[in-house]
Symmetry: D2
Subunit: 387 residues, 4 copies
């Protein structure tokens, strides 16, 4: 199997891109100071801000979204400052290691990796621990498929005088997200999840309060690939690139932003919701158990199911890919689970059917009891209602 029509990429990012996105990535490469590219870059920034629903500054950082997360965390963390890190999965955990190594006094609220930190717990912690300057959280924990309630936590943070840094890598473009309405200071996303774009570019929005903190932080990276300040001082204020931007990735990014804006963000969110509903209904009707402790904290960009019996997630992933040409994601550190993503194009009508059928039959091939027919009936019933 080696051509794309033979593989269904239903993984949790990078995910399959539309043909339009691929065509955009293959556009002629221009000089970065070509007047056409300068316009393109600025226009793409503005479209990204529209998708973030923010009036804050928007930076397009060259690299996988983690470059922007690292840059933001380094830039915000003053030595010795109190930072509250919310942990409900692998990415939240990793942020804690970073914060400590950047010199923060680390505070954490940690729950099981199939659960979510509640806004109430956050508020209680802030009451009991005055002086927290920054709260870090992951909106959608991709490896577990769970959500954090940023809509509630953002305003709480503001009330207690803390800045917020949100990893929204796998949510923006597919899940509801309101940067300004939720009062979030720094928000980071990537192109390769719900936007279904290339993995080589990150986006980060920065509020005036966050800039103030960054500029007053002696540890903020400068003259560095991970520097937010370089982009602000050279590009936003001076019109010069700190280094050559990735022309192709900007083309790809503009295209996926165009696509979601043309579809309408609200429509895209409904589409992701429907795909997740169908998948959850199908998986449960097949006899599989959802990973998330409750449906209310299950993210609509990726459905995680517990691996049944004594099977191993990596074996299942390899078997389904090899035998049925369907690329799913496995647990990636969060547990023995399998993930069917609903991101961009894969959050469309028939993809949940493809994913459920391949997973169900694959599990059966490996010895599990699966009621495939019932699963497809249940999923199609949801799809028929919603489409």
């Amino acid at each position: 199997m080696n051509h794309s029509t033979e593989v269904f990429t239903l993984s949790a990012g990078p995910t399959m891109a539309t043909h339009r996105t691929l065509a955009a990535l293959g556009q002629p490469i221009m000089y970065h100071y070509d007047p056409v590219f300068l316009e393109t870059f600025g226009r793409t920034q503005r479209k990204a801000a529209e998708v973030f629903k923010t009036k804050n500054d928007m930076l397009l950082m060259q690299g996988e979204a983690i470059v922007a997360l690292e840059g933001a965390a380094r830039s915000l963390t003053k030595p010795g400052m109190k930072v509250l890190n919310l942990v409900q999965g692998v990415f939240g955990k990793g942020m804690g290691y970073w914060l400590e190594s950047f010199g923060a006094e680390l505070h954490e609220i940690e729950v099981a990796y199939n659960d979510a930190v509640s806004p109430e717990a956050v508020e209680k912690y802030l009451q009991e621990n005055p002086g927290i300057g920054l709260i870090t959280m992951v909106h959608s924990e991709t490896p577990s498929g769970t959500l954090t309630d940023c809509a509630a936590i953002g305003p709480i943070a503001k009330r207690y005088g803390a800045l917020t840094l949100v990893d929204a890598v796998s949510s923006i473009g597919g899940l509801e997200f309101e940067t300004d309405e939720w009062q979030l200071d720094i928000v980071v996303t990537g192109a390769q999840k719900c936007l279904a774009g290339p993995p080589g570019i990150g986006m980060v929005s920065v509020s005036p309060a966050a800039w103030e903190q960054i500029e007053s932080n002696p540890n903020s990276p400068r003259a560095s690939y991970v520097s937010l300040l370089d982009w602000k001082e050279k590009w936003l204020e001076g019109g010069a690139f700190p280094f050559t931007p990735s022309v192709s990735d900007v083309h790809g990014l503009e295209s996926v932003l165009d696509q979601v804006l043309e579809e309408g963000l609200d429509n895209a969110i409904v589409r992701h919701t429907n795909a997740a509903s169908a998948t959850r209904a199908g998986a449960q009707a097949m006899g599989l158990e959802l990973w998330a402790a409750s449906e209310s904290i299950a993210a609509n960009c990726v459905t995680s199911v517990r691996v049944p019996g004594d099977l191993e997630h990596l074996d299942i992933r390899a078997h389904v890919r090899a035998k049925y040409g369907v690329m799913l994601s496995s647990g990636q550190g969060a547990g023995n689970l399998m993930r069917l993503a609903h991101m961009g194009p894969s959050a469309n009508a028939m993809y949940p059917i493809v994913g459920l059928t391949a997973l169900g039959q694959g599990l059966r091939d490996l010895g599990a009891q699966v009621d495939l027919g019932a699963g497809i009936e249940a999923a199609m019933s949801v799809i028929a209602q919603n489409n």
Copy 2:
């Protein structure tokens, strides 16, 4: 719905192309006398002959395959000659109208459009009607999804001194086809069916005996778009194009020939067979009836099912496309039937599942009784065994 990842094209041609094919169609357009294009054109002819399994001359004719069929039929038909036309579907029927208008004395063996003319019937007819100079037949009647046994009829024709003209438009590249082994004189195919290429180019192989007939026929088109002789005299013998060839379509065609040759024709045939088997098993388990009178004459490139109850095929096609983003084919003159194609990439593992699920649920939406779960179980069982 307007981007490709939102539509599954499971129609009976044009069918979905691989990304590699699309990239080939988008290659830079060269001048037709550029030395690189001259090499490309010759190489593509040779690859087409390899896929036809023939040592006969190969012409690449500029237009949908029907341009080659018209050219071949006009070129072979001398005024007043006896031609036996085998009719088991729409395309066979149409050939008869042509033959008469071109001046032939028309003989026909016609069966119902869900049946096939048997080799025995052909032999009997030839015994009883001496002097038949040409037999015309359609290997795979796409609108009904049925096969003609060209492997048997070719040698019979030779024994009775008749030339053969075979419409193999929807079979070559996906079904077993042996031009020379089966002793066929003129064979025509297109790129947009099992080869999953662009619809703008036809291929035609011509045996020495056929050329002799064509050259001695005063009615053979010359200086015409449908002329086979122009291509022979100008291009094959003189290295000059009779008119500008479609550079892009040749690029697309070479790519699909490469793809099937790299995969191996035998492997491609097995793949089409497996997709058809899964689809037939699934459709029947859902409670649907196959259109073909028997499985032995069902073509592996497209599965036709009888429309249940008093539903109408065009309504079903429109509903399934609008609601589930799956483009199926309907009857196209052969009857009240729906068709799920297995052509090129759509003859891969999970596409039969997509087609069956969308069709099954669509029929149910419109009021039919369909056991969707049983259908998917049956189809996946076949796929699990064969993959």
Copy 3:
């Protein structure tokens, strides 16, 4: 040399396509009855009519433009009718052979292949030869690079009651052309010349008077690949395709029509004019002689120059391609001449410089006296004035 950036295609069609056109050709292939494609096809027809500047019916015929020319000539020619064919080059000459073979009583005005038939000569002929039912002419004789004055001849034909059939294959999209204003009945063009599209699709506009003639002509092709009537009766009147259209070519065609309409037809015409002016100035300053008898009849889509000394055009074409990676056109039957085309993208600022430099140095390599520096100075002087 094997990748496109190593070859400058400055030939007289097919010519280099823009990246946008190539991307359009590589769009996903849809089923021809997919609702999205049905809309695309109709929209493309309307855009073609806009480029033709006509309210007449527009047909998109599947194949190189010559399929439409053949179809139009066959459809209009009643047995024994008097047809006046204007000959000033290879394509005009070929039309005469066709007309005779289709049963016309052939009348011709023929001039040398570097000259043009004047409107006065046509009017005089019509006065002296009453009963001419059709006048056939070639707007731009690509192999010689000369123009016919259709703007004047169209109204003359109307006054004498004759229909007109115009081969505008290499002019529409780059040269001034007014189908309705000039009162032309049937006009044919292709995509691969000034529109810089794929060579696999023709466009033809048909006036009501032409349809009347076609419908009353017993020889009009029907049920044929070259039939105009099939497209009228099945597609224009019935919404059904007479056969599968070339989905990819329609995508490519719509894109090139979009491009020229977005640029503005008038702007495109100015661009072609400027490129031709620069090239003519450069060629003459180099010491080369223009092929056209006077500049007033030189077509702005292709500049022909007389081959100097005893050199041979085919040798020059091969040498320039092999040594400098520039693909020019040679004489193609019209004489010992070399052609630098200005078609679509090649009618842009620096391409005339590339063509002139490669041709000039190539001629010099082969022994001719060429003042290369003076040629570039002269051409750039024109470009600097016009840009």
Copy 4:
């Protein structure tokens, strides 16, 4: 002007990509743990090593090449170590600022930005200043178009026990470069210069001695976007990506490596040499002065010329782009100069002519005295000899 065929990108990177490269960038996006992508990534690493001519470890770092330069410089610099930085241009100067900020004891040999640090000067410095642990240099200073003699300096460094870190961003793939033969420890390049690929990916080769230094350096970045160690420990040794790689950029990178390896590195080097020779000859014959102090230190990837009279480089760049559709580079900090690049496809026959003509006429438009004709004559004379 907005489509690619209307702009000649002759800038000093990003430069124009071949159509094949663009097609590779537009290939379907796969999951990074798809078995096909895992193979692709490993294969691309090996091809990069082949182009570097090294048996050292090869890392593909996600971002513009500067991410790899920063990572390498941080990783090699132990606090207080003596580093000798060679400065002959903007990038060399910047490295010095970095080294100091990373805690090195900075030593520099600096010459004018149109000159080159000689191997003799390096050797003398090392003799006089024992204990230098690292020498940093820029093989090709893109903003000035000058070369450093790494072939000589590499072995000198080894003799004095110093590691070497070489910025070869704009040379590999177009200029002679022998990582192992020249005994270089860390070499960094990007894809967007002589390889004419996307700007989003860096490559870095690391010798065993360099790894030893990095592993023993407490300041080596870990768990960071700029970390070399992360890639070594997770990917090279563990088969797991430290973060999601840029699938599209890897596709684009493999393609450009394939292209240069198929052409042959030696052939590519000759091609760049010839383009530079033609350009230098043309510029001088026009009356322009080369920026480089002597031809022997002029880099063959970009020719810099001094701006004549009192003109300003940025004005010239803007004028030539706006009026002639040619994108050149200007000085970028190195001085009042204009640059015509020869990188990848632009190092082909006719591009120097395009660049020289547009620059020459542009300068003339702005008031300079330029003998355009003589320049083209001189350049074509070199091209005619070499092709």
